[in-house]
């Protein structure tokens, strides 16, 4: 019996290695390709058969990129926008989700459906009206123009609703009997139980805000207001056929988000020990 269990365990570890290794390999290839292309010379990029490992490394692509790309300014803009966006959206989404999942009120289902329906119209067709609205409010070239949409993020609301619905009502009833207000319940009961999901959502929403393209493209047009993807898009235009520089740019735009993720991951771990419904 004991032996069997042990072999089961090694077997499952083996499976983990094989599967994770296999899928990991598939994931890594494109990333590896990106990094290696960013470090290749123009001629090496177009060699056939392809060079898995370049014979000579160059930082020229990065030099070319940095010569045109005002990194400090652009990164600061992106950081301001993405951090405010994520923080606001986490607050508003948890509040809304709590109302939908745990406060019985007339029209709750219908309103959630209306919210959800707003995901079904492509942004391209509301771009001009939305621009008009924001522009006439004097929001062009302000951080506010790209932060305000964080008030309404259906994806986050829906995600948290789905999660909060799985939290047993007993917790809430017990708290209400103790005379707790809804606000206290959200803060003291629901949120601690939702930390893993919220941490995941934080990463997702940060990344969405960081990578957002079309909206900042029309709202933040002054060079000193541009975010990373917008500025990178312009630089790519200047190096249209230079894949090395484009890959260098892509690589550099990913780095800050990965760092944020690493920071949040430790948070998620805490969330797991704090939250989760343990017995």
């Amino acid at each position: 019996m004991r032996n069997k269990m042990r072999s089961n365990k090694t077997l499952s570890n083996l499976w983990f290695c094989v599967f994770a290794g296999g899928v990991g390999f598939l994931i890594v290839i494109p990333l590896y390709w990106m990094i290696i292309t960013a470090l290749k010379t123009q001629t090496a990029i177009f060699t056939y058969p392809i060079e898995w490992f370049p014979k000579e490394f160059t930082l020229q692509n990065f030099v070319d990129l940095f010569a045109r790309f005002p990194f400090g300014k652009v990164l600061r803009n992106s950081a301001i926008v993405s951090v405010s966006y994520s923080v606001i959206s986490i607050v508003t989404c948890s509040m809304a989700a709590f109302a939908f999942a745990k406060i019985p009120f007339r029209g709750s289902e219908a309103l959630l459906k209306v919210y959800l329906a707003t995901l079904m119209i492509p942004f391209q067709s509301t771009l001009i009206p939305l621009f008009m609205l924001f522009n006439s409010a004097g929001l062009s070239n302000t951080y506010g123009s790209v932060i305000i949409p964080s008030l309404f993020r259906v994806f986050g609301i829906f995600l948290l609703v789905q999660h909060m619905r799985t939290i047993p009502d007993d917790y809430i009833d017990a708290a209400r009997i103790d005379g707790a207000s809804y606000f206290t319940i959200l803060w003291k009961v629901i949120l601690p139980l939702s930390l893993p999901i919220i941490a995941g959502y934080a990463v997702i929403t940060f990344m969405d805000a960081w990578n957002d393209y079309l909206w900042p493209l029309v709202m933040l047009t002054k060079p000193e207001m541009m975010t990373v993807p917008v500025a990178l898009g312009m630089v790519n235009g200047q190096f249209e056929r230079n894949f090395g520089v484009q890959m260098a740019g892509s690589l550099i735009s990913i780095v800050p988000v990965v760092l944020i993720y690493l920071a949040a991951q430790s948070k998620m771990k805490d969330g797991l020990t704090l939250g989760g419904i343990k017995g």
Partner: protein, 303 residues
């Protein structure tokens, strides 16, 4: 009792207020305008004068945009392409993201590393991701066909061959999204009370059985969420197509949102583009409505 209910409504509206402001500002008003525009011949390159009745009168063309779209072959072909994408993408994405979640749920050595690994594609913007994949899928200089050639398979010209182009788009999309949905499933898994597993173990259930009997049913709220969101997102398929294939080759990857963008911002027929959007809305809404109806049959909220 009645008073109690009012009380709830008041509390609910307090919690909903911020999102309501956002809803009005970035959804309700622009959507209403877009709906109105769909009945006009507005080009999009002349100022939109929402308060001028002569603007609306001179541009109003009734249902003409809608009837034109429904009669055009292009609309149905683009829908068909979206369908092809969905049929390939959703199952592939579901299986791989569930697999990832189950793998990463158990804390072992290397979990943190793999979690980051799976998540890096998610962190990548589509602008970067699509450029990378164009390279990976290159028939001659690409790494994928190089690998295939090593095991004796002559890979297709993924993005240049009309038969394979959509599949190439699907590959890139699954790569990009599986970590994302995997993370959501992982959040769901973390919420499952270990008591259930212990009970199942005592009953002599095997690993696979307890996955089927416990994990999957308990995960249904998240599966439902992922299905709804990924279906909507599939209908909204756009950036990868624009960057990787430019809707080609021979129109093989023309999809609805790509058409909307082209009509609105390249052919200067914003009225037509808006009508396309609202037809798309109706279709997506019907699908989601169906999902909501079926939800009661399989989604389980009792943790």
């Amino acid at each position: 009792m009645r008073k109690n209910r009012n009380n709830h409504a008041l509390a609910a509206s307090a919690f909903l207020a911020p999102s309501m402001v956002g809803f009005l500002l970035i959804a309700a008003i622009p959507f209403a305008l877009s709906f109105a525009i769909s009945f006009t011949s507005w080009s999009g390159i002349k100022g939109l004068e929402i308060f001028s009745s002569s603007f609306w009168q001179s541009n109003f063309i009734g249902l003409e945009n809608y009837s034109k779209i429904l009669k055009s072959k292009e609309f149905w072909v683009s829908l068909l392409h979206v369908g092809q994408y969905m049929v390939l993408y959703i199952p592939l994405m579901l299986v791989s993201s569930l697999g990832i979640a189950v793998l990463l749920n158990k804390p072992r050595k290397g979990t943190a590393f793999f979690r980051l690994l799976f998540y890096i594609p998610v962190l990548t913007s589509w602008v970067a991701g699509a450029i990378i994949w164009k390279w990976v899928l290159d028939p001659q200089y690409g790494i994928l066909n190089d690998i295939l050639a090593r095991v004796g398979i002559a890979g297709p010209a993924w993005l240049q061959d009309p038969k394979w182009a959509m599949f190439g788009i699907v590959l890139a999309s699954v790569w990009k999204d599986m970590g994302f949905y995997g993370l959501i499933f992982l959040g769901g898994l973390k919420n499952i009370n270990p008591i259930y597993y212990e009970a199942a173990h005592l009953d002599g259930a095997g690993r696979f059985q307890s996955f089927l009997k416990i994990t999957l049913p308990m995960l249904t709220p998240m599966v439902f969420f992922v299905l709804v969101i990924s279906l909507i997102n599939s209908f909204m398929l756009f950036p990868q197509v624009m960057i990787m294939t430019e809707a080609g080759p021979a129109g093989a990857t023309q999809v609805i949102v790509e058409r909307i963008y082209k009509y609105g911002f390249s052919y200067y027929k914003m009225g037509y583009a808006s009508a396309l959007s609202w037809l798309l809305f109706v279709i997506v809404f019907l699908f989601t409505f169906l999902q909501q109806k079926l939800q009661k049959k399989w989604v389980n909220y009792d943790a």
